[in-house]
Amino acid sequence: MFSLGDMLSFLPKLLHGAGVTITVSIVSYVLAAVVGLVFGVARMTRFWPARAVATAYIQLIRGTPLLLQLFFIYYVLPYGGVVLSPLVAGVLGLTINYGAYMAEVFRSGIQAIPREQWEAARSLGMSRRLLMRRVVLPQAIRIVIPALGNFFISIFKDSALVSVISMRDLMFTGELLASATFKYFEIFTLVAIIYFVISYPVAKLVDYVERKFDISRGRMELVRT
């Protein structure tokens, strides 16, 4: 029988799991953004080995499921002597996976900067590295911020997949409680509510940021004509 009391009794454990989910999401997201930036820039360099490595990484990750990537890190790496805890394996998997997608976003952001900006910077004697750091990336990052915001919502939800390698996140905690008590309805409803309550405000925030940056992007376009 459905019981509100039962539901509340599950709450502390689920909230603890939610804490793990949030932590894993934030850490993976930040690391993935760094990885994405590095590989996005690497895709645009003139140094071909860097380009080749970046391209191979991105294609490989985009061409295989996240679930499989997690299995590789958690179950296959130990054969090579690399044993990782579920937490580390989960964060690593999400970072590698999202890093590849973010690299493509950064690349498209860099490509969106008009040739004239590069020329103006070069005509002032800037080196490639300097103009990338001072002229191209600051503009490219502004362009990709809305897209990157949506990645946070995705990574937050996709982090549920790490429960399959027994990381004690919200999803895993829910499954554990449910299989012990058979209160599937109460528990998974509660899990859904928790996911939604967290992701909805984030989605709103992303929408807001997107609108804000769309305007300033419009302004940037205005200057370029």
Partner: protein, 269 residues
């Protein structure tokens, strides 16, 4: 009097093109161009669109590469040249060092949109020349004053008119203390009422003795300011003379025809 550049073997030439050619695919955009700009001289390049004027200008700071011939800057061959029969390609570092001495003003201004006016001006002196921030700031303020925009120092490019943006772009180039200034149709993208304020700044620079190579459609500017006017068509220098000669008694029929068309259009406008 402008001395004949051929007489002094190019010693005081700040910039010289020798038989410079360039092709885009099958299109020959520059064909054996010879041209010299002496120190302190203002040279205006005029001609129909597609003549190779902008391309020639962009070769000066290696935004375009050349296929053959040699470009000399301050008497030394630059970018890509032959020593004996050995081709030499300058390192990026040398190319960048040369570019710091050549200011360029673009048709579309190309200010950095994420920086304020003064931010645009101080950017390269601080990060490329590594000059102390305080000194650069003072110079930047003086330059913005000079182009009449001191009060717009903290404005972003999108808050400025085209004419104001272009004047900031000129200040940005001047902040590097260049030995040569290139103007690539600096007023072509401007509304007619904003052209004057930019030309005024360019005139002032000329009177101060700045060496300038100017691609322009402003015939009045070329006539009044240039020491020499170069008429280009189909990738070649067709005629090169003082503005008096070019505008009142051009020798080449193509120059005559071009100026005729321009004058007629202006007469009607």
């Amino acid at each position: 009097m402008i001395p004949d550049t051929r007489q002094d073997m190019g010693v005081s030439d700040l910039l010289r093109f020798e038989r410079v050619s360039k092709t885009f695919g099958r299109l020959k955009v520059l064909s054996e161009v010879n041209l010299a700009v002496r120190k302190g001289e203002v040279v205006c390049i005029i001609g129909p669109s597609g003549a190779g004027k902008s391309t020639l200008l962009r070769c000066v700071n290696y935004l375009e590469t050349i296929d053959s011939g040699t470009i000399f800057f301050e008497g030394k061959p630059v970018y890509r040249y032959y020593v004996g029969d050995q081709v030499v390609i300058d390192s990026e570092r040398r190319v960048e060092a040369i570019r710091t001495q050549i200011g360029m003003v673009f048709q579309s201004f190309n200010l950095f949109p994420h920086m304020t006016a003064i931010g645009n001006v101080i950017e390269a002196p601080i990060h490329v020349l590594r000059e102390p921030v305080q000194r650069v700031r003072e110079r930047a303020i003086a330059l913005l004053e000079k182009v009449g925009l001191a009060e717009k120092a903290d404005a972003f490019p999108h808050q400025l008119s085209g004419g104001q943006q272009q004047r900031v772009a000129i200040a940005r180039a001047l902040a590097m203390n260049p030995r040569l200034m290139l103007f690539d149709e600096a007023t072509s993208a401007l509304d007619p009422e904003l052209v004057g304020e930019v030309l005024r700044v360019m005139r002032q620079l000329a009177t101060e003795g700045m060496t300038m190579l100017v691609v322009t459609h402003e015939m009045a500017f070329a006539r009044d300011v240039a020491d020499r006017v170069v008429f280009m068509a189909d990738g070649t220098v067709v005629e090169e003379a003082t503005p008096e000669v070019i505008f009142s008694s051009p020798r080449n029929p193509r120059t005559q025809q071009f100026l005729q068309t321009i004058l007629e259009r202006n007469g009607r406008g």
